[in-house]
Symmetry: C2
Subunit: 343 residues, 2 copies
């Protein structure tokens, strides 16, 4: 029931996924009568989609912690509890980010050894996609959190996306090792000595779109700024170019001629083809799809869960976090649950 | 002598400025014989350009504090000292950012009441330009610094750029007042009650390119990320579009037809037309031009100093900072000089 285009696009996305995968089983959690109505006109393999009734809805404007605590019958809380109790393997939602982040950590819970669960979307670059980790789950992170993000991100890129020995970099304001704010200066040496990652050093924001790194590590406030500015600059620039193309007969004709070639480029930079952002480091998989997701992005978000499960990424994260090299990070006391206003 | 294209583009930029302004007087500080050689083939109004010899050069890789302290005969130190002693009104450089920021604060010094001197470039938006403040002068800022940035930025946009009652916003990860990290949550109420600014609340990074605010306040690390990502996304996207246009005969022809219309759009997003970034809040004006500046950007950076002086912006900042509403901020102890590794 969450997201700008819910429930219609969510349901259509689920139907697309069911038709494409053949093996996946999808449980649509939401207001039963509405979901049933929408499903009626759509076709999908028998038994691939079922409905679980959840009469309540968490709105984007609600305070996440309060909403998760009070709305026990919301689609989000019901679905997260199903995952918690093993009735489902993964949770996908285009609803309130805050509620997903809080709900994932409170209801499903973090995996053993994981200090913080980072939200890690894939963003398009000239060379494919890179994982931006963390992007909004926890502001004011500490250096040891960033080191964990680097490790989790590496495992994800290697296993879910198939990038061998992914290049890991930390976002900084200069390429030199000594640059940065207090957090980055503290995190750099941790990353340098961390086993199991291919650390290539600092990355300046200007080098992210060209695809210099496969895993881009940063604190959530910075990650959120990067993610949203990426969208904003792209949208504004493309909007202005479109206006330019439409400004006269000559440019319109030119645009028509160049269209097939342009389409491929724009497709490359279309974030929706990557599905949603996983909230890594939980006991089960939680995927946050973009609030404005269309059926296509929902489909990709759902199919992404199959890869995640098939590659058994959670076990790989658990394994990595029980290795000796990560033990030193375990000294830090466990974080409190997110405060009301975070995310 | 600083910048990727020094000294040639710097000298050409000075000559362009001298020819355009007619009233400005420019002192080129650098290796005398080299500068003389370059100037010989160029024409400019008599007496508009003179040369001051400075045999040393500060390299980008040098540690800023050390370089400023040791290289007394570098073009940067000599020029900053000329400004300090009233032999010049403003300093423009495309050299090492770190050295400019340190040199500006150490040699010229901060204006009375100013806690930190922010670097504030203009960035292109769909509606014109907005001032991004702070962008690299001081990492790990405090809330009261951000409030001062908001005030200085407002004065600059109103007087130097001519935007009446500029809209001031603070970069945050959500539009709601309660969102953010510790710094932003502390700064928000300060900005809300600050006299003399038109505070419109939080701005999410995605809304910066559309031109929602005229003055975008943020801590320097975040500002630096925004500035560089802006460049990076734009450059990558335009590069990919260009490749698409060039990919076949049909798209090439289309591009040719659309070119005049596209040119205007690209011009709008061309940061070089805005000149350099002022380092605000010093006793005199310091302008940091982009390291890759061409003659055109240098020209604009120099001419921008004339506006700054004509509008007497420094006096306006001084005046604002002696008003009662800013006095409360004065309680905070003075900052130390930037550490070696900052900027």
């Amino acid at each position: 029931m969450g997201g700008d285009n819910a429930p219609s696009e969510i349901i259509r996305g689920a139907v697309l996924a069911a038709n494409e995968s053949k093996t996946i089983r999808i449980i649509l959690v939401g207001k039963k009568d509405i979901v049933e109505d929408e499903l009626r006109s759509l076709s999908f393999p028998e038994g691939s989609i079922e409905i679980k009734d959840a009469p309540d809805v968490i709105e984007t404007a609600e305070a996440p912690v309060l909403a998760i605590r009070k709305k026990k019958e919301s689609s989000m809380v019901v679905a997260l509890n199903m995952v918690k109790h093993g009735e489902a393997d993964a949770f996908v939602s285009a609803g309130s980010s805050g509620a997903i982040l809080v709900g994932g950590q409170v209801i499903i819970g973090k995996a053993r050894g994981v200090k913080r669960a980072p939200l890690a979307p894939l963003i398009p670059t000239a060379k494919g996609a890179c994982l931006l980790i963390d992007c909004g789950a926890n502001v004011d992170a500490r250096a040891e959190h960033l080191a964990q993000f680097a490790r989790m991100g590496s495992i994800y890129m290697e296993n879910a996306v198939g990038v061998r020995n992914p290049k890991v970099a930390i976002v900084n304001i200069g390429a030199e090792k000594e640059k940065g704010n207090a957090l980055v200066k503290e995190a750099y040496p941790l990353l340098e000595t961390l086993a199991g990652i291919n650390f290539i050093g600092n990355i300046e924001a200007r080098d992210i779109p060209s695809g210099l790194a496969d895993v881009v590590v940063c604190e959530a406030f910075v990650g959120n700024v990067i993610l949203k500015l990426y969208e904003g600059v792209g949208a504004t620039l493309l909007g202005e170019l479109k206006n330019a193309f439409m400004s006269g007969a000559r440019s319109k004709l030119g645009a028509m001629m160049a269209k097939p070639a342009l389409k491929d480029t724009l497709k490359k930079f279309d974030a929706s083809s990557y599905g949603g952002a996983p909230l890594l480091g939980l006991k089960s998989l939680v995927v946050k799809a973009h609030g404005s997701s269309t059926a296509k992005e929902i489909k990709n978000s759902i199919l992404q869960c199959e890869t995640f499960a098939r590659q058994d990424i959670n076990s790989k994260i658990l394994e990595a976090f029980s290795e000796e090299d990560m033990v030193s990070m375990d000294k830090v006391s466990s974080d409190n649950v997110l405060s009301e206003n975070e995310g």
